[in-house]
């Protein structure tokens, strides 16, 4: 049945496009990009912080050598006792905290109940977008499976300054479409009731970003 449908749909598409000249080029020239590279919103890291905060994320901007202290302090503030950790997370980031760690990897995954019983998760990211206050995870070893940053109620993400770009176009160019990507802009939210923004539905209700700024 499906095979017949494939040919039927394609034949109908071709018949519908009878007006399109046969010699019209199928490929578009990549140079045809008339829109802005970015929108001059201000110094990149300042803009990122401002827009993360605007969408209810908690942000700490610290010198890179403070990362372990900040991670430890953040976990203590939220009262986490047990956290998920992707297998490739830099060991150093957790060197000042004593909370229990549950290590997860695609080769040795924790089951959903274990993910659900964790108080939080610590990950890196692959790209952050200043203009939109977005962090993007691509499932790399220091970010882990998509479920890790989804099921626990608290997501602590460490962002390096060299991962931050100004705009969406710059971010898209850095990303590999073949990896499973999660773009996160603030904690989960809904506007479904009278268009009032309510933060915290099914995803983590708290998003905390530790931004490593060499100039901080």
């Amino acid at each position: 049945m499906t095979n017949g449908s494939r040919e039927r749909v394609l034949a109908r598409v071709r018949a519908a496009l009878a007006d399109v000249p046969a010699d019209e080029p199928v490929e578009r020239r990549p140079s045809e990009r008339p829109y802005a590279e970015s929108h001059d919103a201000g110094p990149t890291l300042d803009v990122l912080v401002e827009r993360l905060v605007d969408y209810n994320a908690l942000v700490r901007r610290v010198a890179p050598d403070r990362v372990a202290d900040e991670v430890a302090a953040a976990l203590e503030r939220c009262g986490a006792r047990r956290i998920l950790v992707p297998a490739g997370l830099p060991e150093e980031w957790l060197s000042r905290t004593s909370v229990e760690r549950v290590v997860d990897s695609p080769e040795d995954p924790r089951d959903v109940a274990e993910l659900d019983s964790a108080d939080g998760v610590v990950t890196a990211c692959t790209v952050a977008v200043a203009e939109t206050g977005t962090i993007v995870l691509d499932g790399g070893p220091d970010q882990g499976r998509r479920a890790l940053s989804l099921v626990p109620d608290h997501h602590l993400c460490v962002v390096r300054a060299d991962q931050v770009v100004d705009s969406v176009p710059q971010a898209v160019r850095r990303l590999d479409p073949l990896r499973p990507l999660t773009w996160v802009s603030g904690p989960s939210a809904t506007v479904d009731i009278e268009m009032i923004r309510v933060a915290g539905v099914h995803g983590p209700r708290t998003l905390e970003v530790v931004l490593l700024d060499p100039d901080a």
Binding site: S5, A16, E32, P34, Y35, R146, V168, P177, I193, H202
Partner: protein
């Protein structure tokens, strides 16, 4: 295609009833005005670049549609290369049969769903119910509509016609029939209502083995699908189950990954009025060790090739379902989504539904008249669909067809909507704002008239506006 709301009267009659419902009008007014203001703020933030992005979005979509056969085959190849299976469905019945068969093969009798217009259109939930499979809607607004046995009335916010007190009642009365009941002391605070939905759905997310989704975009060169959402229910469905079935209209394709540079700016700002929606998930076939290991893409025609065959009407297929045209429309604001009698309400629905369904019924042939042609919808459309042009084109088709209802009867909808001074005011203001984009030349047979005449300018201020300002100034 079967997704006309059964028993729904044609637009003029339904509109008359809707404008008489003051609670619905209050809810709609509040919601559409809130989101309009948010959209304006984030669109203005991009300055002149917005119009360049909009023009580029239009170009990409137009180009894709003109070579749709090529891009469909490329998408199929990319998805298969990445470990997915591709199915083709020429109509709703075929799509429902494919999805039912895929679910049965897993042995499961329940599925979780990500909000999807395509599955609404094919009435998948009914088909699954008939096959003994329970489909759980997980988007908050879709959940409200499903629990309330109601109909969606907006593309983005299907429960926009309901206020918090009504939603509280639905949760208290119906949640227990579907799973974990709402707490008896539930208040109508939106935070409490959102929390109730979180608790209600949590266990379902964690146990479900099969999910059904749509997609906002399908990238031909990489085989990547995208879902933009806010709540995290999408991530739950796309990540935790073992099997994922995505139902995607054939017009959802963009040629290359880099085209998302444009659409990931246009869609969130037009839709929820945010710089970016809280969550976007992208996936390409199957990723070993992460997410569903069994992935199926169902490519859906269901009337889209009929729309494609109409060289004026095909621009409706550029639609990225942002719903900005609903939020700005003076007619939608007054009558709400149900009056359109279709899963696609508002200005875009008025041109999409009759084309998808072929204007066979009185409901469908009334839809091209469900507009004052003020042009505000075109102005806000992120892919520059000239909705007034298509409306006029479709009115000509209705008028040409045999045995159609008289135009006078169809225009009765306009009378119901604009039968008051305040309503007329709002429309004239909107027309004034849109006047930069009003065409100088009418399309179709009416074009003969404007060949030798310019259309009169829409004034920047209507007489009423001028009069009121004059009064205020005193």
């Amino acid at each position: 295609m079967s997704a006309t709301f059964l028993g729904m009267p044609p637009f003029p009659e339904a509109a008359k009833r809707a404008v008489e419902d003051s609670r619905t009008r209050h809810n709609l007014h509040k919601a559409t005005h809130t989101i309009r203001a948010k959209r304006t703020r984030v669109v203005d933030e991009l300055g002149d670049d917005w119009q360049r992005l909009r023009a580029e979005g239009e170009r990409i979509k137009t180009h894709t549609l003109r070579h749709l056969d090529h891009y469909l085959e490329r998408l199929e190849e990319s998805v298969q290369r990445a470990g997915g299976t591709v199915h083709w469905a020429s109509d709703a019945a075929e799509a429902n049969a494919i999805i039912t068969r895929l679910i049965r093969r897993t042995g499961e009798t329940e599925v979780v769903k990500v909000k999807s217009m395509a599955t609404q259109e094919i009435e998948l939930n009914n088909a699954l119910e008939a096959a003994g499979i329970t489909a759980y809607e997980t988007d908050l607004a879709e959940l409200i509509v499903q629990l309330g046995e109601d109909l969606p009335s907006h593309i983005l916010v299907p429960a926009i016609h309901l206020g918090r007190a009504q939603i509280r009642e639905i949760f208290l009365q119906r949640m227990g029939e579907w799973g974990r009941p709402a707490p008896p002391d539930l208040t109508d605070d939106p935070h409490a209502l959102a929390e109730a939905s979180r608790v209600h759905l949590r266990e379902l997310f964690l146990r479900s083995k099969v999910a059904v989704s749509g997609a906002n975009f399908a990238v031909a060169d990489s085989g990547t699908l995208l879902v933009l959402e806010s709540e995290g229910n999408g991530r739950m469905c796309l990540t935790l189950p073992e099997t994922l079935i995505s139902v995607v209209g054939i017009e959802k394709i963009v040629p290359t990954w880099s085209d998302l540079e444009v659409f990931m700016q246009l869609l969130p700002r037009s839709s929820t009025g945010e710089r970016m929606n809280p969550y976007t998930s992208t996936w390409t076939g199957v990723t070993p060790g992460d997410g569903p290991q069994d992935f199926h893409l169902v490519l859906l025609d269901n009337g889209r090739t009929d729309v494609l065959a109409d060289t004026v009407g095909r621009q409706a297929l550029r639609c990225i379902r942002c719903s900005a045209c609903l939020n700005i429309c003076p007619v939608y604001e007054r009558v709400g989504g149900h009056a359109y009698g279709s899963v696609y309400p508002g200005p875009i629905g008025a041109i999409l539904t009759p084309q998808l369904q072929g204007m066979a019924s009185k409901v469908d042939e009334a839809l091209p008249y469900a507009s004052s042609l003020c042009g505000a919808c075109y102005e806000v459309c992120p892919v520059a669909i000239d909705i007034p042009e298509v409306l006029v084109h479709l009115r000509e088709k209705v008028a040409e067809s045999k045995g159609h209802v008289s135009e006078k009867a169809l225009m009765a909808g306009a009378e119901a909507v604009f039968g008051s001074a305040t309503a007329l005011d709002a429309v004239q203001r909107a027309a004034g704002l849109a006047r930069g984009v009003v065409p100088r030349h009418l399309p179709g047979p009416a074009g003969k008239w404007t060949d030798t005449r310019d259309l009169p300018d829409v004034p920047a201020r209507s007489f009423r506006q001028w009069w009121n300002e004059r009064e205020d100034g005193r």
